[in-house]
Symmetry: C2
Subunit: 200 residues, 2 copies
């Protein structure tokens, strides 16, 4: 902490250090940058935080974070409502949107099933997903969940719950990432990439 | 950026990504964390930023950032006013205070002389330092500046300006850092550590 600099700075540093990616040291550096660039950065950031805190909410349909409800994706008529991509968090949705490879709708679970963390089906936005599929018109549900134990457990659970609901359930492909050097890949990825090999 | 999430989130991410230590990717992750922990983190951070922006200012005597002016250090009568430690930025002052090894006063330059960045003596808090020394009562000025080209140029310049002013001018020691493995140290540090060797 910044000894002898007043409680306001201490509090700012301690809050900044709770952001992912910022430890105590980088939080101090960030606080210093903010204090040096008060007009251009500190006050605008304070306002942006207050503004987003007040206006951003989870979409009632898909759970995405947006200032609109239904969110921008859900209210975009040009997007395919027959395709639902299920993601863990809004961060994954943002990543897929940046890639620009998906033109369907989303469903944000708000987490993953985890026995260890005590997260059960009722803690996630699963009922809403089942209701969307049951309402009809959904051809395919893509489970775009992380390739971790919790991600795969959740995908397995969702695939079971969704089976027989009329929509095809698919998973993301596994394999060598773009730019991936074979030397640096873990054994699991290599094994899966080999198993799922395809004609050249 | 977070496509289709509303301009408020975009703006928040873009401001967060201007903090040192946060790139575009970690700024998005930070924004997501903030939005998920609105009550506990986002609103308090907005308030802390606004609060610090309004209250924190540079001490008129030493340039330290504080809500008090004169700052906590300058107004602490138990600290030795005969010792002035000159630092580049408030961050260095905080680091020295954390170490708890210094019980004198400080002088924050607000930067370093840099021909490349066009920073001259008038851009730094140098007149104030000379005035403090000229006012008398200062036995020693410790130039605790970084061991970089700009840091050393500034130290050299200050040593010249301060010479004959009645105060001794000293520099931080150079050598092997605590925990420093010799294999990993750069040649410059090794050379200086060897040159400044002392009896065991």
């Amino acid at each position: 902490m910044a000894a002898s600099a007043g409680p306001e700075i201490e509090r700012l540093i301690s809050l900044l250090s709770r952001l992912p990616g910022l430890g105590p040291r980088s939080a101090r550096r960030a606080a210093l940058t903010l204090l040096k660039r008060r007009e251009q950065l500190m006050t605008p950031l304070a306002e942006a935080l207050a503004d987003a805190a007040a206006k951003v909410r989870a979409c009632n349909t898909c759970g995405a974070l947006d200032t609109r409800d239904p969110c921008t994706v859900c209210s975009d008529g040009s997007r395919d409502a027959g395709l639902i991509c299920v993601v863990e968090e809004a961060g994954a949705l943002w990543a897929l949107e940046r890639a620009g490879a998906f033109r369907g709708r989303y469903h944000v679970l708000g987490g993953l099933l985890s026995a260890l963390d005590g997260v059960g089906p009722d803690d996630l936005r699963i009922t809403g997903l089942l209701a969307r599929v049951a309402a009809g018109g959904v051809r395919e549900v893509i489970l775009a969940l992380p390739a971790t134990v919790d991600g795969q457990t959740t995908a397995h659970y969702l695939a079971e719950r969704l089976s027989g609901g009329g929509a095809e359930v698919t998973l993301l492909a596994r394999g060598v990432p773009v730019g991936g050097e074979l030397d640096w890949l873990d054994d699991g990825t290599l094994t899966q990439a080999l198993r799922a090999r395809r004609p050249a």
